[in-house]
């Protein structure tokens, strides 16, 4: 944090170097690529895999990918995936148990040792990772696999130079400028000087990698251009969530009649929770081999929108649709503050874009606050 990072400039033509260095150090390079009409995060081998020239239009319940005239690698705004799929995967076997007569032995897997290099992490996404850190590795109990991946990870962040149609990170103080938590930070600029990245570092790991890149010192002009590009993104942002009195006003809105109105539209499909980069709820399934000689415990992403989520003997605590929508919104924006000392939403806008019927958390929060 703090320390003014030394800025360098990397020619866009040399971006592949970064991937090469990471791969040489046995990192799994994951980053944006185009698949099935969207930018998704997947394993990438080379800059060829990056969504160069692609951009997107996003609004409530609608996403369209377009190939523009630009040549930027990072000219898109994040798609449906978040990085949590690499840090806290959607399904994972927690252990196997072997039965022998009356006893059983538990065999837990070793931490996988995966070293992910996350390439193209945006400010809000980095904020989200730090929110998940608080939940999964800063409390009394931790998830060791998450912690291992997190400690092993290299984060190559990228500043946003364009705001997406559903973004509201500026009002959440989580973006569009990357502030902390990264190893390397790139800002992509296309201007009269050409196509280049300003490169900043904020960790030893990051500095060691950046040192191997064929960078040159950044000029004042180049730095200014990068700053302006990010400022532009902040100005473009159309949506806001008002943080003043957020928690308490939402608590007061618990009995608002508005919840039933949203429930009329909400499909309780769980998409918002699946795309949200901070949602961490999981389910645990216990299963067996057919013969019963082995048993397994598997963890999967879960959602507070399912009926089973709050099931206790005799019925579900949150049986109505509106109580489940309320749980989701209040958890994100209010309970979270009491639980983890931060707002559970980073303003990425995914839940707005990827809600199949376009429900907007900022609008609903406003309506409930009255």
């Amino acid at each position: 944090m703090g320390a003014t990072p030394t800025a360098a400039v990397l020619d866009a033509g040399n971006l592949q170097q970064l991937l090469d260095i990471l791969q040489k150090q046995n990192y799994q390079t994951v980053g944006p690529t185009v698949r099935d009409n969207a930018v998704v995060y997947e394993h990438i081998q080379s800059v060829e895999d990056l969504p160069r020239g692609w951009t997107d239009e996003q609004t409530n319940g609608r996403y369209r990918l377009t190939h523009g005239k630009g040549k930027k690698f990072f000219g898109y705004v994040h798609g449906p995936n978040s990085w949590k799929k690499f840090l806290y995967p959607p399904a994972r076997q927690l252990y196997a148990a072997d039965r022998m007569k009356h006893r059983f032995d538990v065999v837990a897997p070793e931490p996988s040792g995966i070293k992910p290099a996350l390439i193209g992490v945006r400010a809000c996404e980095l904020a989200a990772i730090m929110v998940q850190d608080r939940v999964l590795m800063d409390g009394e109990y931790i998830d060791p696999e998450y912690k291992a991946r997190r400690q092993n990870a290299v984060i190559v962040a990228v500043n946003c130079t364009r705001a997406g149609g559903t973004c509201f990170c500026a009002s959440m103080n989580t973006g569009p400028r990357v502030q902390e938590g990264y190893d390397i930070l790139l800002t992509e600029v296309v201007d009269s000087h050409g196509h280049y990245f300003t490169v900043e570092t904020a960790s030893e790991k990051g500095r060691a990698i950046a040192a191997q890149l064929a960078t040159s010192p950044a000029s004042e002009e180049q730095l200014a251009a990068a700053r302006q590009a990010v400022d532009k993104a902040a100005r473009q942002m159309g949506r806001t969530l008002d943080l003043t009195d957020l928690k308490d006003s939402l608590y007061r809105g618990f009995d608002s009649i508005h919840w039933e109105k949203v429930a009329g539209r909400c499909l309780t499909c769980g998409n918002c929770t699946m795309v949200c980069p901070t949602c961490f709820c999981v389910n645990v399934e216990d299963t067996t081999a057919l013969t019963g000689e082995q048993a397994f415990r598997i963890r999967r992403w879960d959602s507070c929108f399912t009926v089973d989520f709050s099931y206790i003997h005799g019925g579900s605590i949150r049986a109505t649709d509106y109580s489940r929508y309320r749980q989701w919104l209040l958890h994100k924006l209010a309970y979270w503050q009491d639980q983890f000392g931060v707002v559970g939403c980073v303003g990425c806008g995914r839940c707005i874009t990827w809600c199949p019927v376009g429900i907007d958390i900022t609008e609903e929060a406003r309506a409930v606050k009255g």
């Binding site: 252990y95 109990y141 696999e145 709820c281 879960d302 003997h313």
Partner: protein, 280 residues
């Protein structure tokens, strides 16, 4: 590798069932002993363990044994569904997985020098039993002790031996009631909350500990309030769906809290706002 925390807290520890006691037609207790490692299992009254039946599933169950005897880890369970049913058919010598102890505990220290009122219904007596053991072991530290216990029918009454022992003592007020009388029952009939009005405790210098179905707890709180017991002297044990017991799965959220770590035992002033909300 990672500061000793690389053991997944979701991995269970095998325990052996050493004793099995049938408490009633649908409720049973077992005494457990760890298969490996430290045999001294410490817990505070009110805490729970996640119990895993091999291949079937894992559920939260309170510890119902005597906290002053660390070797006897006892759980009392009512059979209501898949996992608890599978638990009932386990036998002495079988293995069960344990994770815990988790959660907050009853305020036995805070209650020092005060009257202690224990109000419970059904299986709710199980998590309170450790408190009774504890305060009876340190009887001199407390004022009057009142136990109000409601049960559906006389046949559902748990821990009969204990109850007889406690009733025989002059320094414990034990009152039982049943919803429906049957056979030779000559005791109280009616809901447990009716007993609160006539109980001999000092509302301004007592600690109330309440565990039972949510609806029973609502009425209990309101009766206690009528007697003048302040909110911050009432304690309730809550129940929510739990998949991890350690605050990572999200299932047990009750408003801003997690029942598994901020509960199950709550001081009522911390709960009063949300306790009255439906479907929270």
């Amino acid at each position: 590798m990672l500061d000793g925390s690389s053991v997944d807290p979701m991995v269970v520890r095998p325990f052996i069932i050493r004793r099995f006691v049938k408490e009633s037609h649908d409720t049973f207790s077992f005494g457990l002993e760890p298969m490996v490692g430290d045999r001294d299992f410490r817990f505070a009254p009110g805490q729970f363990n996640m119990l895993y039946v091999y291949g079937v599933g894992e559920v939260p169950i309170s510890i119902s044994g005597d906290p002053t005897k660390p070797l006897s880890l006892v759980h009392t369970t009512r059979e209501v569904g898949t996992v608890t049913r599978a638990m009932r058919i386990l036998k002495v010598g079988d293995t069960i997985g344990v994770r815990g102890p988790y959660g907050t505990s009853w305020p036995v220290e805070e209650a020092r020098g005060r009257d202690v009122v224990l109000i419970t219904g059904g299986i709710g007596l199980a998590p309170l039993r450790p408190v009774i053991y504890y305060i009876l072991a340190h009887r001199e530290r407390y004022g009057r002790i009142v136990l109000l216990y409601g049960s559906r029918t006389p046949e559902d009454i748990l821990f009969r031996k204990d109850l007889e022992r406690w009733r025989a003592r002059f320094d414990v007020e034990t009152h039982l009631t049943v919803d429906r009388a049957s056979g030779s029952w000559r005791g109280n009939v009616g809901v447990v909350t009716q007993l609160i009005r006539r109980s001999p405790f000092d509302p301004l210098n007592c600690v109330a500990m309440v565990c039972g179905p949510e609806i029973m707890m609502r009425f209990t709180v309101s009766e206690l309030e009528k007697r003048g017991v302040p909110y911050d002297r009432m304690y309730l044990s809550m129940e929510r769906n739990m998949k991890c017991g350690i605050g990572l799965c999200g299932h047990c959220q009750l408003g801003p809290s997690f029942v598994c770590k901020d509960g199950p035992v709550y001081r009522y002033d911390q709960l009063s706002d949300i306790f009255i909300k439906r479907e929270m």
